[in-house]
């Protein structure tokens, strides 16, 4: 494990920032530095899985990662930025205000290097479409814990399909959902577990 990977794994924010600055000054390629950062985030995820870290640590690691990416961003070419992080639009659909599962999944997605646009809770379908247009994200994650919001899920999926005529956007639904709900809403996949959600997003983006 490199010193930078270790610093991120230890959530040592200041040291990680110093090490990134030093690497940039020493002529390291930004993408190589990103790889070290990503490994640090994976190490954080593993420590979380072992019960060594808690959710707050996971969220802080995502924040550190974001700050490090900002340091590195000026050195990236556009096509490199796209390689670094898949873009995801995420939100709880209209009519539902549950956000814990959404927040956990977003924290994990960021750990794995995804750029996530969190639209919050009770999000109308047109807001999802607007954000997808603005960000050029290719994944939409919709969360709902209420059976009364299945129609809201369906409406959002339909609106996105109308806008995304070329079928570039993959839609993942999560929360209290199942295969039947997935079929009903027309989403591409469903999960009830954050980790599985990460894997699906990684597969869709060709990371796995």
């Amino acid at each position: 494990m490199t010193s930078l990977t270790q610093a991120i794994s230890d959530l040592n924010e200041n040291l990680a920032m110093e090490l990134v600055k030093h690497r940039l000054e020493s002529g390291y390629k930004p993408l190589d530095i990103v790889e070290e950062c990503r490994n640090g985030m994976i190490a954080v995820g593993e420590r979380y899985s072992r019960g060594e870290y808690f959710l707050g640590d996971l969220v802080l690691s995502a924040e550190i990662f974001h700050e490090l990416m900002q340091l590195l961003a000026p050195g990236f070419r556009d096509d490199e930025v796209k390689k670094v992080s898949g873009r995801i639009v995420f939100g709880t659909v209209e009519g539902d205000i549950h956000d814990i599962g959404k927040n956990i999944t977003i924290a994990l997605l960021r750990c794995y290097g995804f750029e996530v646009y969190d639209l919050g809770v009770n999000v109308p379908s047109d807001k999802f479409v607007g954000c997808l247009k603005e960000t050029d994200a290719n994944i939409l994650c919709l969360s709902s814990l209420l059976s009364s919001c299945f129609d809201s899920l369906k409406r959002t999926v339909q609106q996105v399909r109308l806008f995304d005529k070329q079928g570039k956007i993959k839609i993942l639904i999560g929360g209290l959902v199942n295969e039947k709900v997935c079929e009903y809403t027309g989403a591409d996949y469903w999960v009830t577990d954050a980790r599985k959600g990460i894997t699906i997003c990684q597969q869709w983006n060709g990371v796995l």
């Binding site: 959710l55 814990i100 009903y184």
Partner: protein, 322 residues
Amino acid sequence: MNGIGRVYAAINRLPSDRFPRGELVVDKQFIKEFMKKETKRDNYPEPVEEDLEMEIEFYHRLGLDLVCVHDTEPMHHSGDLCFKLDYIRRFNAEGFFVFLVLNGVFQTLVNQAGFTNFMKNIARWPQQVGEELQKLSQKISEHIRKGLPDGVHGIIIADDIAFNRGTYVAPEFIQKYLLPCWQNQVNSAREQRIPVFLHSDGNINAVLPIIVEAGFDGLQCIEPAAGMNFKEVKQKYGKYLCLMGNIDPALLYGNGANNSFGCASDDPHVQKHNFPELARAVNELIAMAAPDGGFIFGTCSGLHAGLSTEKVKFMYELVRNI
């Protein structure tokens, strides 16, 4: 014996005619759906929030012994507690044990800062967050000391500190910063001779000793879907904590009438849930929980719109006949 007597008996492990029943939350829309089916009456007024008589009839029909009254304007908005006093008086007059549900300090700061920010702040500046928790706790304790509305019998501090995998933050943080807050609140209530329960969703196994140390009289939720084993909790902590809840709301999802998806979970165990399975879960819980007292029957998280009114009715009729 009425509901007030039964709940006091459960908390104090005293003899009673039966174990009490109660829900942390009963959604007004659920009450309306239930009552429409029960009474074949379709002219309940809108908004449903205003129909106290319908609510009281609902509680009696289900045979509930307690009512939880929630702060209508959580204190992070106004700084004051705000309850419908006429409701409290009326519930009391009907013989229901009245719990006031107050947002705990953890929950309040989550609401104020947003979940992600709050988690980040704890990881980064635990001591400062601890100080904020302490300040807020003093405010809650002052409210309790100043006196609660007439007709209130108990308090439930609603502090969601956990999810399915465990606590959101390290138990060490809870021990160091939340425990003193909880102790302070419990002590304030004790001065008023008011019992205090803690509600938290999720898997709180790692912090049960801390909850006991805080001096709470009871614990509401004990969520099986999060890996909470009622039997173990009862064996280890049943003499310190009156346990309330434990029926998994997933058992109460509709089977077609309310929910065309059969259920809203991918869990095969949940998908198969039907009336016999609900009956088995209820019987198992009562067999485990009721004999030594210190138990209040109910679901983990309350009755919400979308649950099957038939199953809820079936469950409470079953309990009534045990």
